[in-house]
């Protein structure tokens, strides 16, 4: 029996309206906050264009105390560390998700899933600390590098940080694939791997892609862990082996330098400009992802589902 508005209770109708207004406000507030943040970044970051020449802003040297405001090394640092992190994280996390969802027996799944979520709860500073003490000496000795504080160390750490995020969501997406799809594939003689690779994963494609995008967003925004292990040297990555050299990410730059800038100075505006670039990169990544995730199912997919 569904209880609608009780005609004898006078307070019921205004309570309903109140609750729906509160929920609507919460929903809209998410959009409003993002809009306000974007406006704030624009207001503080756009003056950088008028204070620094465009050619200087996209120059090759970043040394703000002597007025060198070239952000290209920072962009390349973020790009290299994030790409490396994704290269490390995606195979590991999709493999783990497939294992947990498809192959592991139930008792193992009940242990693994909470363990992965526990790993995701580790603070990134702790991982950065482990990175300095354990990962960087290991890299220096076993790869014969001059120092372990490189973009590679940052990528490995960031990949490790992104994996639990991707695994949780991808595993949920794989779980949501109807059992009928798998049974249909088995019925026509497909092996387990063929089923997973050609039927289950493509069906769960939108969920898995959402998971990857969330992991990418996490990796892009990570500050403390990369600040501790990448060496923070603003080196422009030009060759394929630049991943074995130190790098400086945009997030680490903002974190390290925001404390010392005087309000409304050129350095302050350039730092906000860097924040604006980060915001725009995340926005582009999310827009691209949502076009894939929310695409309209074509006729054959509608018929089958």
């Amino acid at each position: 029996m569904i209880k609608y508005l009780h005609p004898l209770k006078p307070g019921a109708r205004w309570r309903e309206t109140l609750i729906s207004v509160v929920i609507k406000t919460c929903g809209f507030s998410a959009i409003v906050f993002v809009g306000l943040i974007f406006y704030f970044l624009l207001r503080e970051g756009l003056p950088a264009f008028s204070e620094v020449k465009l050619a200087d802003l996209f120059a090759v040297r970043w040394y703000p105390i002597e007025d060198y405001f070239g952000i290209l090394p920072l962009l390349s640092g973020t790009l290299i560390v994030t790409l490396g992190a994704m290269l490390v994280a995606i195979p590991f996390s999709i493999g783990t998700a497939v294992f947990i969802a498809e192959i592991a027996p139930h008792w193992m799944r009940d242990i693994l899933k909470p363990l992965v979520e526990l790993l995701g709860g580790l603070p990134s500073v702790v991982l950065g600390f482990l990175g300095i003490l354990v990962l960087t000496p290991f890299l220096r000795v076993y790869l014969g590098l001059s120092t372990g504080l490189t973009a590679l160390a940052g990528s490995l750490l960031l990949g490790g940080i992104a994996v639990p995020t991707i695994v949780s969501i991808a595993e949920d997406a794989l779980d949501a694939v109807p059992q009928g799809y798998r049974e249909g594939a088995w019925a026509i003689g497909a092996t387990r791997w063929q089923t997973i690779w050609r039927v289950t994963l493509p069906t769960a494609r939108s969920g898995v892609l959402t998971a990857v995008m969330l992991g990418l967003g996490r990796a892009l925004g990570e500050t403390m862990a990369v600040m501790m292990v990448t060496g923070n040297a603003p080196v422009l990555a030009t060759r394929w082996d630049s991943i074995f050299m130190p790098a400086r990410t945009m997030t680490a730059t903002i974190a390290a330098e925001m404390g010392e800038v005087a309000s409304a100075s050129v350095h302050y505006h350039v730092l906000f400009f860097i924040g604006l670039m980060l915001f725009l990169i995340s926005l582009v990544v999310n827009v691209v992802a949502s076009r894939v995730v929310f695409h309209q199912k074509n006729r054959s997919e509608r018929v089958l589902s």
């Binding site: 040297r61 040394y63 703000p64 105390i65 002597e66 060198y68 090394p73 300095i132 003490l133 960087t136 000496p137 220096r140 001059s146 120092t147 372990g148 504080l149 600040m227 501790m228 060496g231 923070n232 040297a233 603003p234 080196v235 422009l236 050299m245 130190p246 400086r248 390290a256 330098e257 404390g259 010392e260 800038v261 005087a262 309000s263």
Partner: protein, 343 residues
């Protein structure tokens, strides 16, 4: 019916608690304990309706909070002066030790010490958010101009002296270099240890971040050799680590590394390089004695800046720092160089 059941089961428990409160003086102030205990007893005896029950459960925590607050206000009314002190990470341990000793002797003063780098401290002084800014470098001319435009006149006080030690891994055979060689290493012109008499290894340069006064001082004194017109910069692959600990940690485990840090922060297991001011001159290692007789080339003064001449509690504090025996003894204890020997 359910309400009666709850009341019936909690009343004996409440009476037990009240009895214990009367016995054990739950609060420091036993008078208030007795008052509260009696009030609670009054209310439990007269528990008759649902509403009174609710009032009781509100009243107990309110009573507890009022008594606790009453005790606290008597303690905090003694503090009347707050001094905000912010800036150099080189000076922060020293500033903390001073603040603790001074607060121990003068209970009416509360001093808060923060790090963040010399640039951060001076920026805060210009923004008017701190009373004293710690800086391990002198205030720059553009910072002075900005201060004048805001109507602030920064006054400099020299509080201690410091030596910058250039450190290498203990396995590194190099133990002495000229200032020019260090300048060329850090600017990227020398890239291998064998060019300065060591093994065939590439050099890994470590430095503090750009907001650090130590970094700026090193740039001006070592890379640019004190020449204002020299525009040499750090090599782009110099690792800029966010703290002294990071530098020490990397130098300790990496035989290719060279770094620099204040004398007070260098632990005993790392090797400090003896430096010659000119090629062919004597190589001098860092210590209190060599800083005081000016033979060590990379020695600097440490400063505290105030907005205008200091007055009141800030003036007393600065006077204690610069002229009292115990403050300068703390300086020596922490590995810096006291000023009274020198001046």
């Amino acid at each position: 019916m359910a309400k009666m059941g709850v009341l019936a089961s909690t009343r004996p428990i409440l009476h037990d608690i009240i009895r214990q409160m009367r016995h054990f003086a739950f609060f420091d102030n036993s008078c208030s304990a007795i008052v509260v205990a009696n009030l609670v007893a009054f209310f439990t005896k007269r528990l008759k309706s649902y509403l009174q029950f609710r009032v009781l459960w509100l009243l107990i925590p309110i009573m507890i909070m009022l008594t606790a607050c009453a005790q606290q206000t008597t303690a905090s009314s003694q503090v009347s002066v707050y001094i905000e002190n912010k800036g150099s990470d080189t000076i922060v341990n020293l500033a903390l030790a001073w603040a603790e000793r001074y607060q121990g002797e003068h209970h009416e003063v509360r001093i808060s010490v923060t790090g963040g780098g010399s640039g951060t401290g001076i920026a805060a002084l210009l923004n008017g958010t701190v009373d004293i800014a710690n800086a391990s470098r002198q205030i720059k001319s553009e910072e002075t101009q900005e201060a004048q435009s805001k109507g602030i006149n920064p006054v400099e006080h020299i509080i201690a002296r410091d030596a910058i030690a250039v450190i290498v891994n203990p396995q590194n055979p190099v133990s002495q270099m000229t200032l020019q060689q260090i300048s060329e290493i850090y600017s990227g012109r020398i890239n291998n240890w064998r060019d300065v008499g060591g093994e065939n290894r590439s050099i890994v340069r470590l430095s503090r971040e750009t907001n650090s006064g130590t970094h700026v001082y090193f740039l001006e004194t070592v890379l640019r050799l004190g020449d204002k017109n020299n525009k040499t910069l750090f090599s782009t692959d110099t690792l800029l680590l966010p703290s002294s600990e990071g530098i020490i940690n990397e130098v300790r485990q990496n035989p290719n590394a060279i770094g620099y840090d204040g004398l007070g922060y260098v632990p005993n297991d790392l090797k400090m390089i003896a430096i010659a001011r000119q090629p062919g001159g004597a190589y001098v290692g860092p210590s209190i004695a060599t800083v005081n007789d000016n033979s060590y080339p990379i020695a600097r003064d440490l400063y505290m800046y105030t907005a205008g001449e200091p007055s009141g509690a800030v003036a007393f504090y600065l006077d204690w720092i610069m002229h009292s025996v115990e403050a300068q003894a703390i300086v020596a204890e922490l590995g810096f160089v006291p000023i009274n020997d020198h001046r």
